[in-house]
């Protein structure tokens, strides 16, 4: 009963439209990935559950979790002749930054862009430089990016009151009051972008850990973004929608359930200013951050064991013992490694290992729905990368072929929807139980105001439900001792994940993985040189 109600809420306004829209007949597709069933085998276990192993293997470093943080740890250790193995539950690596090339153009399943990283996000710049995307540095010490990778114009458009408008703010269609408030808001966040605390650090930085500890800045973590907006007298519907769109986009949460510190971080953390970044500052590939995942994986020299569930990790003398299970057959396996990195969400990690107080920041997480629509359409030479619908339930869609020339008729559109409501559990259950058909219909329903004909142009809809897509930075997420970044689980075991920072950003995942790897230098007897962070 409660899950049915939750489902109705979840599908929201679009549910009604979805019912009206013709059912997605003649459309292929499936729900893929995110093996929650396999993952849920861990429920009830509290660490170190080791079954009778059939096989034993040994390696230098075992990394559990093949997301960006796990791969970054492997990348940091690469090129030294170590036997590094990555154990990943899913049949593919990448976690929430994975992608697919099953279609006319590769497309993302989660993370789909990387804003030009701040100078302080050094691992990200290092990776981009080795990829040749960062071409060099200008006289002022600022990076220059390959313009082919920056999102080509036009970047985005908004469907507002029946028509498309370039950009996310339809200036010519807004009321004077709304425009004025938008102007006030952008002045205020621009000021925050430059604002430094008493310790000389920026209020908002990426990596988060380098942000200011000024009490005035930290006080922002004690109220919700919605409360902050109220306090500052931001009331117009457009501005409230705009901020909601932002917090959903970055944290999968409504402003009512997000810390104001996090909400403002979204607007005030991107510091890099160069002439070429005046337009789009997004680095975009057809497969989204799947490109970065591939580059990290290739550069790491590690070997990958996908379809492998880790059920426990335990230090035994000078070794770490991992209990693994083949996700398909359920067959148990044991790995002994000289050191290990746990790069899985904290709520999973806590079931695998006995952790010291405060190392595993278990956070509430937001559920997401991602749909990849394989479409055939007429060529529109002015089609943007990102299309957003004002007032829709979802966040709109991006076009995987946007960065490619010449324009093409067949493409994949990736639709995103975050469930920002405070009752994440209800949303998660409803999503878990929803059929492919009802979800696909809700997607078409949500896009129908702008694209009533989309259903006829679509040949395939694949869906992924991310039950635990990303940590939700609720009020107080910075904790009593902010920015500590503790990653040591034991002498030879460390922890990495975006849960450490609490903001699901590529740079944070990467930094966390690199730091976790660097923490293993001593037990591995390695000379890793200067930190990459």
């Amino acid at each position: 009963m409660s899950s049915r109600r939750a489902f109705l809420q979840l599908v929201g306004g679009s549910f009604v439209l979805g019912q009206l829209a013709p059912p997605p007949r003649n459309i292929a597709g499936a729900r893929l990935g995110a093996s929650h069933e396999v993952g849920h085998r861990l429920l009830g276990s509290t660490g170190s559950a080791v079954g009778a192993p059939d096989e034993d293997e040994r390696c230098d470093v075992a990394i559990v979790g093949g997301g960006v943080s796990g791969l970054s740890a492997a990348w940091r250790l690469g090129g030294r002749g170590l036997d590094v193995r990555v154990y990943e539950l899913e049949p593919f690596v990448g976690g929430t930054s994975s992608s697919s090339d099953d279609g006319v153009v590769p497309h993302p399943w989660g993370a789909h862009y990387l804003p030009a990283p701040n100078l302080e996000a050094r691992p990200a710049l290092r990776l981009l430089e080795s990829m040749g995307v960062l071409l060099g540095w200008d006289a002022a010490g600022r990076p220059r990016f390959d313009p082919r990778v920056l999102c080509h114009a036009p970047e985005e458009r908004l469907f507002y009151r029946g028509a498309w408008h370039p950009g996310l703010a339809p200036r010519e269609a807004l009321e004077e009051e709304e425009l004025a408030e938008l102007g006030r808001f952008s002045d205020e966040v621009d000021a925050l972008l430059e604002r430094r605390g008493s310790d000389g650090r920026y209020y908002f930085q990426i990596p988060v850990a380098l942000s200011s500890r000024d009490p005035e800045a930290l006080a922002l973590d004690r109220k919700t973004m919605a409360a902050w907006l109220d306090e500052r007298g931001y009331v117009t519907p457009f501005l409230r929608w705009y901020v909601r769109y932002a917090t959903l986009d970055d944290f999968g949460a409504d402003p009512e359930d997000v810390s104001a510190w996090a909400g403002l971080h979204y607007f005030a953390s991107r510091k890099l200013k160069t002439p070429e970044l005046e337009a789009s500052r997004y680095l975009v590939w057809p497969e989204g951050n799947g490109r970065l995942v591939r580059e990290l994986g290739e550069r790491s020299g590690a070997s990958f064991r996908t379809g492998t569930l880790c059920r426990g990790v335990r230090e035994e003398g000078r070794e770490v013992e991992l209990a693994l299970e083949d996700a398909a057959t359920g067959r148990a396996r044991r790995v002994r490694a000289r050191a290990a990195v746990l790069a899985v969400p904290a709520f999973v990690a806590r079931r695998l290992v006995e952790a010291p107080e405060g190392v595993l920041p278990v956070r509430e997480s937001s559920p997401w729905l991602v749909a990849n629509l394989h479409v055939h359409r007429d060529i529109d030479p002015n089609h943007p990368w990102d299309s957003v619908l004002f007032g829709a339930a979802g966040l709109g869609y991006v076009d995987a072929s946007h960065q490619l020339t010449p324009p093409r008729r067949d493409t994949v559109l990736t639709y995103f929807r975050a469930y920002g409501d405070a009752d994440v559990r209800a949303s998660r259950i409803a999503l878990r139980d929803a059929s492919w058909e009802s979800l696909a219909r809700s997607v078409f329903g949500d896009l129908a105001p702008a694209h009533p004909e989309l259903v006829h142009a679509t040949s395939r809809v694949d869906l992924v439900v991310w039950g635990h897509a990303m940590p939700r930075p609720r009020v107080g997420f910075l904790g009593a001792r902010p920015f500590e970044e503790r990653s040591q689980l034991g002498e030879r075991t460390s922890y990495a994940h975006v849960d450490v920072a609490g903001l699901a950003l590529f740079e944070e995942a990467q930094r966390s993985g690199v730091r976790a790897a660097e923490a293993l230098a001593a037990p591995l007897g390695l000379e890793l040189g200067e930190s990459w962070c």
């Binding site: 036009p154 070429e276 060529i379 002015n382 008729r409």
Partner: protein, 530 residues
């Protein structure tokens, strides 16, 4: 039926018993006959307009005309059948229907053209329009016969009405190709006939015995319809009219639809024209000016004739024709996205006539590829690159006018190599022209801008882009005898810019992530068209 008779009785009784408007009333029957005639003529004209538009846009004129005529006649049948449901106020309905026809028919061509230009559902709109017009015309004739039911015997009445109807059709079909299309063009013919219909309706409101309130309402509607049609007619303006006449004035001799664009070739006694997506690419009577200006100054600036030449765009082979005048050229690599274009100009008689079979020359190698991708993949080095793309009117072509593109181009040019780029009109789009040059310069080129007058286009701009040693050429590298436009004296003039098209302040650099040229170009040309 009974009600209808009463209505007509009312009409007759007022005629019989006399009234202050007796003179006017004597004109009622003739006015109705004139209406039949006008409706017949305009109905046919609307039909021909739709057929012409359809055959231009969809190609295959035989099929389009037969669909349009068939549907129109069928819709007339539906209208005739529907007429039996109109039982009261026949005169009022008659005027209303005439007004409806005025609006539907009058706006049909501008509306359909707009829908086509906006890449809307053209077929649906076209057939919908034909059906509406057919139905309205179909309603009118039976209503008329009923209105005049008692003025003549049935056999005379039917004979007269139908004769007028068919004669009207004949007049329409003679006027359309002989006077209307060549003199007025598609849009104005449409609007003019709409106004004619509305005027006839207006006269009707003055002559017919109508209840005063209704008459006033109808008259106001007539004025509103006339006003809006007049507005549309004026708004279409001279520019549109001129281009449309050239477009539709000459018969279409070739059409093809590729994934990227619609290819249309028209031919009149004087000239052959190529249109891509409705934009004129060249006109055979002055294309020599454009292509001589595109190719020969660049070869002259090289000093020595080139051996390897890259042509980007230019699938019509006309630039290649000019290049082939230099026997020293060993290979020409032509990169054009659209096979529909290169096929037309390599294999089709129409194309070969224009470019002298240049694309079939053994020295020419054709790649149907995207120029950006080609440059990224190519390892070759060229002495000369001729860059001849459509203007940066949208973000897809706009990519070929960015600093990234010019950087790639520079990598493909040998040490002494240079490129020539067509760069829109410095007269119509001054900022765009000079911003293209600023963008080329930002990629490390030295530039020499120049322009030439091409009557079909106006004053047209080009730019030479090369290394630090690039200088304005003074001597052509071939005998000017074979050329029709350029000689040394003309060459020198190309590099002189009058004050109003000289380099302005505040040019922009177009990058992939902003493409500042696209909005700039669209506003500048938009301003011009306004």
């Amino acid at each position: 039926m009974v009600q209808g008779k009463r209505e007509v009785c009312h009409l007759r009784s007022s005629v019989i018993f006399g009234s202050p408007m007796a003179v006017a009333e004597r004109l009622v029957s003739p006015a109705l006959y004139v209406s039949v005639f006008v409706i017949a003529t305009s109905g046919l004209v609307y039909q021909l307009l739709s057929g012409t538009l359809a055959s231009y846009v969809l190609g295959d004129s035989v099929a389009q005309f037969s669909f349009v005529i068939g549907l129109y006649l069928f819709a007339m049948g539906i209208g005739s059948w529907l007429s039996k449901f109109i039982e009261r106020d026949l005169l009022v309905r008659f005027i209303e229907i005439e007004l409806g026809l005025a609006i539907a028919g009058g706006l049909s061509a501008p509306l359909l053209f707009k829908i086509y230009a906006a890449a809307g559902a053209f077929k649906v709109a076209l057939y919908g329009m034909v059906a509406i017009i057919g139905t309205l015309v179909g309603l009118e004739i039976p209503l008329l016969i009923r209105l005049l039911e008692f003025s003549l015997r049935l056999k005379d009445l039917v004979a007269r009405v139908l004769t007028l109807d068919y004669v009207g059709a004949l007049v329409g079909s003679v006027l359309f190709p002989s006077i209307l299309l060549p003199k007025l063009g598609i849009h104005l013919t449409s609007v003019a006939f709409g106004m004619l219909n509305a005027s006839v309706a207006l006269i009707g409101t003055m002559l017919f015995p109508l209840p005063p309130g209704t008459a006033l309402r109808l008259r106001l509607s007539c004025f509103a319809a006339l006003g809006s049609l007049l507005f549309v007619g004026l708004a279409l303006g001279d520019v549109v009219r001129a281009s449309e006449q050239s477009y539709f004035g000459s018969p279409i001799v070739y059409t093809a639809q590729s994934p990227y664009q619609r290819v249309v070739m028209t031919r009149s006694a004087r000239t052959t024209r190529l249109f891509l997506n409705g934009n004129l690419q060249f006109s055979s009577d002055d294309e020599h000016r454009y292509h001589e200006a595109l190719v020969h100054p660049a070869v002259a600036a090289l000093g020595a004739p080139p051996r390897r030449v890259l042509v980007l765009g230019g699938g019509d082979g006309l630039a290649v024709r000019e290049l082939l005048r230099y026997p020293e050229i060993e290979r020409i690599t032509l990169v054009d996205l659209d096979q529909a274009v290169t096929d037309l100009f390599r294999d089709h008689e129409l194309g070969r006539e224009l470019n002298g079979g240049s694309l079939a020359d053994p020295r020419v190698e054709i790649h149907n590829a995207d120029a950006f991708l080609f440059l990224e993949a190519s390892k070759e080095s060229f002495d000369l690159a001729v860059v001849d793309f459509p203007d940066p009117g949208n973000y897809a072509v706009g990519k070929l006018y960015t600093d990234s593109f010019y950087l790639l181009l520079r990598e493909r040019l040998g040490v002494r190599g240079l490129a020539v780029v067509q760069a829109t009109s410095p007269a119509f789009a001054r900022n765009t022209y000079w911003s293209i040059i600023a963008t080329i310069e930002s990629a490390g080129f030295r530039t020499v801008p120049y322009h030439a007058y091409v009557p079909s286009f106006g004053d047209w701009g080009f730019v030479l882009a090369g290394g630090p040693g690039l200088l304005q050429p003074t001597k052509l590298a071939l005998s000017t005898e074979a050329l029709r436009f350029l000689d040394e004296a003309t060459l020198a003039q190309l590099f002189v810019f009058p004050k109003d098209s000289a380099r302005p302040e505040g040019t922009v650099i177009s990058r992939l992530n902003d493409q500042k040229l696209v909005p700039l170009y669209t506003t500048e040309w938009g301003d011009w068209a306004r």
